[in-house]
Symmetry: C2
Subunit: 283 residues, 2 copies
Amino acid sequence: MKNVTVFGNGVLGSQIVFQTAVHGFRVTVCGRSAESLDRAKKSIAGIAERYQKEIPGTSAEQIARGLANITYTTDRALAVADADLVIEAIIEDLKEKQTFYKDISGLLPEKTIVCTNSSTLLPSDMAAFTGRPGKFLGLHYANHIWIQNSAEIMGTDQTDPAAFAEVVQFAADTGMVAVPLKKEKAGWLLNSLLVPLCVSGCLLYAGGYAEPKDIDSIWRIGTGAPRGPFEIMDVIGLKTVYQVLMMAQVSGAKEFAAVLKSDYIDEGKLGIATGEGFYSYRK
Amino acid sequence: MKNVTVFGNGVLGSQIVFQTAVHGFRVTVCGRSAESLDRAKKSIAGIAERYQKEIPGTSAEQIARGLANITYTTDRALAVADADLVIEAIIEDLKEKQTFYKDISGLLPEKTIVCTNSSTLLPSDMAAFTGRPGKFLGLHYANHIWIQNSAEIMGTDQTDPAAFAEVVQFAADTGMVAVPLKKEKAGWLLNSLLVPLCVSGCLLYAGGYAEPKDIDSIWRIGTGAPRGPFEIMDVIGLKTVYQVLMMAQVSGAKEFAAVLKSDYIDEGKLGIATGEGFYSYRK
């Protein structure tokens, strides 16, 4: 693999672009408009700065070489014309993603492997729309990609093992710890573990057993982890936590979701992004 | 509080004794026989050595002063005659604990507050046997007390808030991070969080989604924690994990418990203590 095309200019899209480019791949960023590409450029430049600050020993030259590996275009056909790999990181909406795959399926060369970065949808929900289910699978990055450098890789029943292996290799070649799943799992691995931890924390708080800061404290001290469940939920964002609680098949979860809505979300306390969630992050 | 009496010479008993003594309290160790006291002395000496090795800046003099604060006796009446606090860390068996409390209840002076270190039983299961339910509560230490220095404090409906507050203060005065619970909770806080994480890890493995090492890997990278669920379970011990799985009200847990028994426990793979569990720890 040499040429990677990324669709989607959100938080993760920009991180995937730079992580891939700084590891020597040629990356094409495809956006809807000149404006969206301008935003992408700014966002990627910001990511590049953080690499230099947060990864010890990163030289200005490495950063510059990474940025030089990136090209920008609004022309979808041109963007994928020689793509070995397409990574889709567009909005988390099934209909939007299905439409996207239908639209690009006719443009892709035979060789292209296609990956979705979706964290809540399954690749099998989209495979049929890609026109190449054998070369379609999930490649899931976590936020803060240069520090939390895990990549979960998940195929469908139809994914060709050779394509799966190529993506595992690609993840490793771009500095990620590749974590393969043997079959599809809603929530992948990380969220399949995080959700029960966070829901359990919510139920301890909702049940009146202890305060968030005390629950987090016992978790940090007892396991050596840097953050307890409430701090993690503030990072994830409480709107997402609300959705997770509404879907959780655990007694008491929906009741706490209602509290979360009235006492936090409706008050504008959405987590670290708004300066307040379970904790206050204001100076 | 000045005088603390500890019953139970197991792993945690010895740690509680030294942690308390090294923080300037007078500690009485009460054992059943001269032999059991000899074992306790050796065990406490071993703990003292680890303090000096593992806590930066600990002086030989501090260690010596801590050891000098400890006295040993087989005489229960003498052991508790002037006790401000009794900490019970005997075998985790309800009948044994109830008998113990009945036996000492007549020996205790009026002032003594009594704490159980039980992790699986509730204080309310034993309160009636102590003869002083108002001065009886739970004080739960974690293993490796000098590093994982959390102390969960949990009263019953009958616990006097003043006694609760004194134990919170005692925990802080002995270098622990005191984490109060507002009411009784089976599993306390830490295990109420750990169990769902570990059970979820087991179900991912049992469901054939991924291998333990990959599940642990995604947890470590995704959350920054030092250990994933399978490494944690190897530390806890797989016999305990088996019991937890048998009690878990989650689909698939009992089935995986059976696998754990046949493929691990019956093969002598009990976790880190036997050199092998989900991982091998042999050189």
